[in-house]
Symmetry: C2
Subunit: 313 residues, 2 copies
């Protein structure tokens, strides 16, 4: 093999798992009819063709900035699902509680978690409450819900609500946030009501959907996941750091609404009830990028990332 061939090979390899503009295969590997049309858009084309009204800016009062040494993590909170916890997180952030917090846990293929080190005592709690009821699920009534038709192992129905991956029990009329990658939840002890938002965890591995309805999910990371997912794994039980000096400080954590506008991270999120989002789900279901041999024909909830983009200017 010549060096040239090797270079070509490397260039091809660079396309591994790529989402390049593409043609559709005529049928999927099951021999079932593929409903893709030759001109159906790819994910990249859907995003390029979306219009500005289909994007929303997260509410600054419900956006938490966590500043690590390596950069900012942006969390969108979900008051529609966890109003008590979100109110407490707001109070704790305003009081400077999280400025004393440290990442104490990084468990491989599971979660990172932060909270106050023992020496900080109760910390600065401001108006935060010491006890909140569990918010594992809520009434499905009154929630918008964009359903995904591909089924799910864990729930009757899955889809998106207010921009968050979510699930419903249609018989019991309940809804909850799904533990997809980047979900943020409130750590608790064995008692259902033992979380107050002072301990937060973020999913960094395969989506642990068995946590759904077992813990209060408070939102999701919309920017900066790469600052959390690469933290060294803890070697103690459950991925806790064994020595206090292994903990990673949160330099500061504030609500976006408390940060001068010039210092905010300007982001917008594709509305999950928009036509472009529906087209994106279809593009993720039927892969039309040239790289794909089998267009798949199915998609699972947590394999549809909700698009987030910076706002120019």
């Amino acid at each position: 093999m010549s060096l040239f061939t090797r270079v070509v090979r490397i260039r091809l390899a660079a396309l591994l798992l790529a989402s390049s503009p593409a043609i559709a295969s005529p049928a999927n590997a099951d021999g079932a009819a593929d409903d893709a049309t030759p001109h159906a858009p790819t994910t990249a084309e859907v995003l390029a063709n979306s219009n500005d009204a289909e994007w929303r800016q997260p509410d600054p009062a419900h956006t938490l900035y966590v500043e690590l040494e390596s950069g900012r993590v942006v969390i969108e909170l979900a008051p529609a699902f966890a109003p008590g916890h979100v109110a407490n997180i707001q109070a704790l952030a305003r009081a400077g509680f999280y400025d004393q917090a440290m990442v104490t846990r990084s468990q491989e293929n599971y979660v990172v978690q932060w909270g106050l080190p023992e020496e900080a005592g109760t910390g600065h709690r401001g108006d935060a409450r010491d006890a909140i009821d569990a918010e594992f699920d809520r009434a499905a009534d009154g929630l918008d819900f964009t359903a995904l038709e591909d089924g799910d192992v864990y729930a009757d129905q899955v889809g998106w609500s207010g921009g968050f991956p979510a699930a419903r029990d249609t018989t019991r009329g309940r809804a909850w946030l799904a533990h997809c990658y980047a979900a943020v939840g409130a750590g608790r002890g064995n008692a259902a009501d033992s979380s107050d938002g002072g301990q937060l965890y973020v999913v960094i591995g395969h989506s642990p959907r068995h946590l759904d309805r077992n813990i209060t999910t408070v939102g999701r990371v919309i920017h900066g996941m790469e600052h959390l997912s690469v933290l060294p794994r803890g070697t103690g039980p459950l991925g806790f750091y064994e020595h206090p000096d292994q903990r990673i400080a949160l330099r500061r954590a504030r609500l976006a609404s408390e940060v001068p506008e010039a210092e905010r991270t300007a982001l917008e999120i594709l509305r999950t009830d928009s036509d472009s989002f529906a087209a994106l789900v279809q593009a993720r279901r039927h892969r039309r990028e040239e790289w794909f041999i089998d267009p798949v024909g199915r998609v699972e909830l947590c394999n549809v990332p909700v698009p987030v983009r910076p706002i120019d200017g």
Copy 2:
């Protein structure tokens, strides 16, 4: 809140997501009957009760050691699913090909990938072939298969074969390895047969099952995932490192069979066709640990990690 209360709270928080010995709830949250009995074992109890004959040692000739600065990554290869690729990986390893390889890509919530940097040319290839047929799936006949009954979004049937998470198309009689967390595959360009095992990737995020049957999966990481999952994310397209000096060298990569016995990592894996593995699946489906409020009652393929343990002495 007193300091004492805070300390208690932190101790409780340490239990977050724990798998502690437990009692079963009488019914799951759907109100459906729970088939758990009061004495059904938890995951920890299943492992403690397993017998030695239920564990197997991976074949050293089909085990690849990848040595990073931070430690050893152990990959079990799957010749039953990708005989051509596994033979080529063995030839490349024996020739010292991977000793020149570098991690060139680390894409958030997706994969890390290594291969030869351009300046290495074709590298030391020994008896390795330059071209191999794609091995995206194989005949289901002749394969052992332990089915999971909980369904799947992507395949007719999922379960385990030879210790690997796998899937089947029962109509067409085909089987393939599933892209769960820690799956290892052979990078390719747009042509189906453009992989040769010289570029390998490892799943480090939510399981990208849409890659199933689109690329040749060659095995899975059974030890040392934490050395790969924390690598800094690349900032170029597809998570490639933008500057050559960001790449991370594989110091050495050898088959376990080529390594003196005293330097091997002695591991054993719970047989996926054993009674204890069946009990473990049941324990992962019906969560009996005290922490769980809702015992869940369902489990998805990639949320059943196949247990691996060190061999004493």
